[in-house]
Amino acid sequence: MAHNILIVGGGLAGTIVANGLCRQLGPDLRTGAVSITMLGTSDTHMYQPGLLYLPFGRIREQELFREQRKVLDRRVNFLVDPATYIDTDNNQVSTESGKTFGYDYCVLATGSRIMPQNIPGMQEGAHQFYDLDGARKLRDALDKFEGGKVVVNVNAPHKCPVAPLEVTFMMYELFQHKGILDKTQITYTYPIGRLHALEPVAHWAKGEFDRYGIHYQTFFNTAEVDPQKQTITSEEGDTYDYDLLVTIPPHQGAQVITDSGINKAGWVPTGRYSLAYEGTTNVFVVGDTTNLPISKAGSTAHFEADTTIDNLVSLVKEGRWARDYDGKVFCFIETGLQTGTYVWFNYQTPPNPGPPSEMIHWFKLAYNRMYWLSARGLL
């Protein structure tokens, strides 16, 4: 029996799944017993974590992009034709061009997106670095910045949960190099009652903030930004003035998830071990797309994709389940422009980050290039 595998979304998670399946199902792809189709939204693949470095001049724009066709195994039928409706009752997906694609197995990898427009004034009054345009504008703003009040504002939910701390430490070092630290006050705001979701990271960050003189405000969930008065106010009732506001906007899942009636906020209800869309046995969910209570990060996408590859191959070849996902997440943490550390955890194992070192920072810089091997399923 032939198997059609349809991957909806061409970001990191979908790409790893597609390439990993090709590596394991070569003979079946050759005979036509299996076909793999990917519905993407762009012909370009972006290395999203690289955006953190762009405002600091530490990465060149062209390093962030590759042609998606070249990142994908040539045996994947890749189409830039965004999905508009996912019909899991009838095992089919409709697209923008008006086509309908049937499947035997489907992988939902539609990702997440920033929604600054969900908070009044945020789009007009705040900088962000979660897309290319935002990172470029922040680079210009940092170039011109000559001191004043800086607010780094974090909103829930967001992906890459260490990026807000990283950008804070990197800005501190930048201002130090520019000789404007004495004219600058950085304030960091965070939604919950500590400085990071991970308790050991929060504990470490508090020590560093105290040492550097970085102010912080916990329990701060943004209600509005006033671009004219240059103020930001929280649901909890705190207001800060700013000269430069760098925000991590709230995120949502893809519109197609909402439009398909799967979930209002765009996060697909997902089995925490099986990674199957709840209520189905042939639809899998990977990357930011899940509603799982774990970090939305590239490493999460990678580990989920590895699990899903094993399960899909096993289902196709042997008609049986291979293994469960254990909730694993791994994150590098840049602790400045010269040092870094890392943290990993899963559903059972709490995080325990080690001391920052130059070596880990260099490894992160090396990973910035090795990413493409990861997307190809080689790493």
Binding site: N118, A156, P157, P161, P191, I192, G193, H196, A197, L198, E199, F219, N221, E235, E236, P250, K264, A265, R272, P293, I294, S295, G327, V329, F345, Y347, Q348, P350, P351
Partner: protein, 76 residues
């Protein structure tokens, strides 16, 4: 009748139960409820602390066998 949804945040170290609640409460109607299941005993304190600060109502806060169940009603 208020609707109630459950977030199973057991075993969630990051973003954690409170962050899950903060993200989810934006998507429910005023008067509806979210039950958060957490294996972190800190949730029994920090979820009510946040709810009080922002003005939402804690409906239940129970310790079960191996986890805590905290239900919050959106008040505004």
């Amino acid at each position: 009748m208020a609707e109630r949804q459950t977030i199973d945040a057991r075993g969630s170290f990051c973003p954690g139960p409170l962050m899950e609640l903060i993200a989810a409460i934006k998507n429910i109607e005023v008067g509806d409820e979210i039950e958060v299941l957490s294996s972190d005993k800190g949730s029994a304190n920090d979820i009510p602390a946040w709810a009080k600060k922002v003005g939402h109502e804690v409906v239940e806060n129970n310790e079960r066998d191996d986890h805590w169940s905290i239900t919050v009603r959106r008040a505004k």
